[in-house]
């Protein structure tokens, strides 16, 4: 293309000599007009020189426009862009307050959206770290009673399903459990995955070190082998590549480490798992068709749909129902996409969060758009002048676009960086155990999708902010702008739209703040609910003694005595209690019973059951209502006894003396158990649950080699825990004493408290962003109102108005908007809180202190935001203000 090349060099030539080009053009145009004027005057001598000049200029056209057009012909495209860009920077710098406000708001809005989108992306959009995860399905049983779609399978059923199905290329099994790992100084319980031999093959995951399980390696006869998770390889074996072939002792079995899994591998239903073991089915449960303990994962054959696979497994399940009616009656089948099984629970909350972030972004965008609108109004004169001097409409619009691009570009970069750090911070704030259940957020990185999302928002914002000013600048109007030089009407449009929007934003902030406040308060109430005992100064832990040595009742009792003696020697220990379950754990672990002497027709009266040691109630600090506590004489050989709680008494013996009553398990013939005491209700279930009937049996009559310890100490309980664990290990290194925690921590970290705390924080986060945005919005409105009214204020002050009355003028305007926003917000907040009353605990939706606190916080913030422009208004120098016109 020699022609193109030629043009390029010509352009380059002109570019290099731009000044000469301009001078030449000006000179030849001037010469042109000179000749023209001369000719006109010669043709009509009556013409005055002035008229001749006017006529010449009329016929010649707008010289500035023509020069510009001429220059455009020879200029490179980037020259005008660069010029626009420089001008945009100058304009934005001139109005630094606006620029900083707009950029920060955009950055904030974008940061929230991008951060949440990054979480959504990692959880819902990013494919699971398996080969072709869309062909993977979770395979479960389905029981009519339970409303769950993922009930577990028994191993014999699984083996039959595996053999008989025609839908899966492979059907494998998995389960998560805790096992005892032998260490040099004792034992430790660790989380493990227990899988069939082909589990990793069906997922399409290969170890980064060593080998996968071989076929048949999951049989009881095979030597035991294990794979390591990447993090266990790092923390337990210091990333030693020589770990392959090493042997560890798990549950007393020597187990050879054969492989290390990739870093990005996770399998959330089982996480956090340090080791991956094979099934090695043994014992009653593994071999029984009626004991359900594992889950299935399968890969659909080519061309097989989920529906076909479901029909296939259902028909196998009904065959098994006929073959084994005892165990398999009512056992159906279910097949769901593995992705849904793993991340399905997160979908609604994530999408809700994303919607919330979108709302914030929308508020921010509206704030900026309205600020831009105002700015355009105040730039009418500038635009009119530029238009008159020959700037074409398209050139003016290009100017707006350039300014919008500068704003959005800066805001988007800041927002993306902020989003990145926010996600970092948030993933660090989540407790590690919990994060393991959300493993898709470990090693969270911004994928191209996140950047695309950010770019889309930015593009949308750029379009919006480019269009906003152009809406207000149709060209004929511009001449009026020039003629009037008016300012009075400039802010009117804004005052109409802008103040409504600000009221809306303030109301939104109020709603979110109120909800955050209520959630915070219910968390406080939850943590201070009466649990029926003294939770301070109690150290707790889980003790597991090997069944081989301590499984028999007399062995367990002997162990229990040993532990009691040993722990009482630890300084500061006042009472040592043991129980089959600790309070605040759940109302599970139940039993059926009947009252002796009352007619019984096989009904199932179900109550919570706890097997507790003699000192248990003393250790908890529970109160005896009537009767006695257990003592060391309540033994296997002595008559069976029980203690009931108040709720039990109220329900079953409302008008009788419970201490005269005997109950029995549902055995035939009934074995009488004497009720010897009534204790005050202890909150066995979640903090927000009510009190239900509970039965306590003496540990000495119901011994077990697995139990919870509750130790009351006079010292700080957390510092005593290691001493207690060490004391138990001294007795026998084969006993695991784990999950040490203070009772206070158990309460603080209980699921209910956790839900309240995290939702309170989450809503508080959104609320503070909304507060910030709405206050900035208010600042914007007031600041612009002030800048529009500079002359008015100047006149007022020139006529003798005091500074205080200027303050009153400006703060009054802000006050009206704030009051309106707060009132509307409070009304809506009470409604919203009433709708989510189920989430609140011990707090009414119209909790006055919360409402008042929010109103005060918001008003204070609003006052602060409007004080800055008010001060600027009050410090206006009337002389300057008037001369500025």
């Amino acid at each position: 293309m020699p022609n193109k090349l030629h043009r390029f060099f010509n352009k380059l030539f002109f570019f290099a000599r731009r000044q000469k080009f301009d001078a030449d053009l000006a000179e030849e145009m001037a010469y042109h007009r000179e000749l023209k004027q001369r000719d006109l005057q010669q043709a009509d001598p009556t013409l005055t020189p002035q008229d001749a000049r006017y006529a010449t200029n009329r016929e010649f056209g707008n010289a500035t426009v023509l020069k510009e057009q001429s220059r455009d012909v020879v200029a490179f495209w980037f020259e005008t862009t660069l010029q626009d860009f420089r001008f945009a920077l100058r304009q934005l710098r001139k109005n630094l307050g606006f620029t900083v406000t707009a950029i920060l708001m955009l950055a904030l809005g974008m940061a929230a959206s991008i951060a949440i989108f990054a979480f959504v992306d990692a959880a819902l959009l990013k494919p699971l770290p398996y080969k072709d995860p869309n062909r993977l399905v979770g395979v479960f049983e389905r029981v009519p009673l339970e409303n769950r779609e993922d009930s577990n399978l028994s191993i014999p059923d699984y083996l039959d399903w595996k053999k008989r199905n025609v839908s899966f290329t492979a059907l494998e099994a998995f389960d998560g459990t805790s096992v005892m790992l032998q260490r040099s100084d004792g034992v430790e319980t660790v989380r493990v995955g227990r899988v069939s031999d082909g589990f990793f093959r069906v997922l399409g995951v290969a170890p980064i070190l060593g080998r996968d399980f071989l076929t048949g390696e999951d049989l009881l006869s095979a030597p035991r082998t294990a794979m390591l998770s990447y993090s266990a390889w790092q923390t337990r074996f210091a990333s030693d590549p020589g770990v392959i072939g090493k042997s560890v002792t798990i549950e007393g079995h020597p187990t050879v480490i054969i492989g290390v899994l990739p870093r990005e591998f996770h399998f959330i239903p089982v996480e956090p798992a340090d080791f991956w073991l094979t099934l090695h089915p043994e014992g009653h449960c593994d071999l029984s068709r009626g004991c359900h303990g594992i889950y299935g994962v399968g890969r659909l054959k080519e061309g097989v749909t989920i529906q076909q696979a479901l029909a296939d497994t259902k028909s196998i399940a009904s065959q098994l129902e006929k073959e084994y009616p005892d165990t398999n009656r009512g056992q159906g089948a279910n097949v769901v996409p593995l992705t849904r099984y793993i991340v399905g629970d997160f979908r609604p909350i994530l999408l809700m969060l994303l919607a919330g972030a979108g709302l914030l972004l929308a508020i921010a965008a509206i704030n900026i758009a309205s600020l831009l609108l105002v700015r355009t109004e105040s730039r009418r004169r500038e635009l009119a002048v530029r238009g008159a001097l020959g700037a074409s409409p398209s050139r003016l619009i290009r100017q707006f676009v350039t300014e919008a691009l500068v704003l959005v570009g800066t805001g988007a970069i800041l927002g993306t960086v902020a989003a990145f750090w926010t996600t970092r911070l948030l993933t660090h704030l989540v407790p590690e155990d919990l994060l393991a259940h959300m493993a898709f957020w470990q090693h969270l990185t911004f994928s191209p999708r996140v950047f695309t999302f950010a770019a889309l928002i930015a593009a949308f914002a750029a379009i919006l902010f480019s269009l906003t000013p152009t809406v207000r600048t149709n060209m004929p109007e511009m001449r009026e702008g020039l003629a009037e030089g008016s300012r009075g009407s400039a802010g009117n449009a804004w005052r109409r739209i802008g103040s409504k929007l600000v009221v809306l934003e303030l109301a939104t902030a109020v709603i979110l703040l109120v909800i955050a406040g209520l959630l915070g308060k219910s968390l406080y109430r939850l943590l201070h609910v009466d649990v029926g005992f003294q939770p301070d100064h109690i150290a707790t832990m889980f003790v597991a003694a090997p069944t081989a040595t301590y499984g028999k009742p007399e062995q367990a009792i002997a162990l229990h005595r040993l532990i009691l003696d040993k722990l009482h020697q630890v300084p500061g220990v006042k009472a040592v209690g043991m129980s089959s379950a600790l309070p605040i754990d759940g109302w599970g672990n139940t039993t059926w019973f009947r009252v002796i002497g009352r007619p019984w027709n096989g009904e199932h009266e179900e109550v919570a059951q706890r097997d507790v040691s003699t000192e248990y109630f003393t250790a908890l600090g529970a109160k005896v209502v009537r009767g006695r506590l257990f003592n060391d004489n309540d033994q296997k050989s002595s008559p069976q006894v029980a203690i009931i709680n108040r709720a039990f008494e109220k329900k079953y013996f409302p008008s009788e003396d419970a201490l005269t009553k005997q109950i029995s398990y549902l055995s035939t013939p009934p074995v009488p158990i004497q009720i010897v005491g009534v204790v005050e209700d202890i909150k066995e279930g979640q903090l927000d649950s009510g009190m239900y009937p509970a039965l306590y049996f003496p540990f000495l009559q119901e011994p077990d080699n697995y139990f919870m310890l509750a130790v009351r100490t006079s010292q700080a309980e957390t510092s005593v825990i290691p001493t207690l664990a060490a004391a138990i290990r001294q007795l026998d290194p084969q006993i695991a004493a784990t999950r040490g925690a203070s009772m206070d921590d158990l309460i603080r970290n209980s699921p209910m408290a956790y839900i309240h705390r995290s939702s309170a924080w989450l809503v508080a986060g959104f609320a503070s962003l909304a507060l910030l945005l709405s206050v900035v919005g208010l600042y914007g409105v007031i600041a612009y109102s002030v800048s529009q009214r500079t002359r008015e204020i100047g006149v007022r002050m020139a006529l003798g108005a005091q500074q205080s009355s200027v303050y009153r003028l400006i703060l009054g305007e802000a006050g009206r908007l704030t009051t309106l926003g707060v009132l509307i917000g409070l009304a809506c907040a009470v409604g919203a809180a009433a709708a989510m009353q189920a989430l609140l605990f011990g707090v009414r939706s119209w909790d006055l202190p919360t409402l008042a606190a929010v109103a005060i916080i918001l008003s204070a913030a609003a006052l602060l935001a409007s004080y800055i422009p008010a001060r600027r208004a009050a410090s206006v120098d009337p002389v300057v203000a008037l001369r500025a016109e």
């Binding site: 022609n3 030629h6 043009r7 010509n10 352009k11 002109f14 030449d24 053009l25 000179e27 030849e28 145009m29 010469y31 042109h32 000749l35 023209k36 016929e59 010649f60 056209g61 707008n62 010289a63 023509l66 020069k67 057009q69 001429s70 455009d72 012909v73 020879v74």
Partner: protein, 108 residues
């Protein structure tokens, strides 16, 4: 009386054609077009200049500062060989177009 607008794209051609007779400065070109078209074709005179830059850029004309009869400096435009070729091509196209339009109009 309103004067007909110039057909779009014809200004370049008119300038080139005008310059076949002699090198001219901008005002000369404007006068020449006006005179030869007997006042029918008047361009907004200033719009000659962006057009001239276009032609310069394509190297279809050359520009030179020379002294006029009245001893003033003026910029004279001269047609180049490439410009002459371009004019030929454009005229050819133009005639084809006019002929086609005429045929349609006569036929109707």
């Amino acid at each position: 009386m309103t004067k007909p607008d110039l057909l779009p794209g014809t200004l370049d051609m008119l300038i080139l054609k005008t310059l076949t007779r002699a090198p001219l400065h901008g005002y000369g070109i404007a006068l020449s077009i006006k005179r030869i078209s007997q006042d029918v074709l008047t361009v907004e005179e200033g719009s000659l200049y962006p057009a001239l830059q276009r032609l310069l850029l394509q190297a279809w004309v050359k520009a030179e500062w020379k002294m006029t009869d009245t001893n003033r400096r003026a910029r004279f435009y001269t047609l180049t060989a490439a410009g002459r070729k371009q004019l030929g091509a454009e005229l050819n196209q133009f005639h084809q177009l006019i002929a086609a339009i005429t045929r349609v109009l006569q036929d109707a």
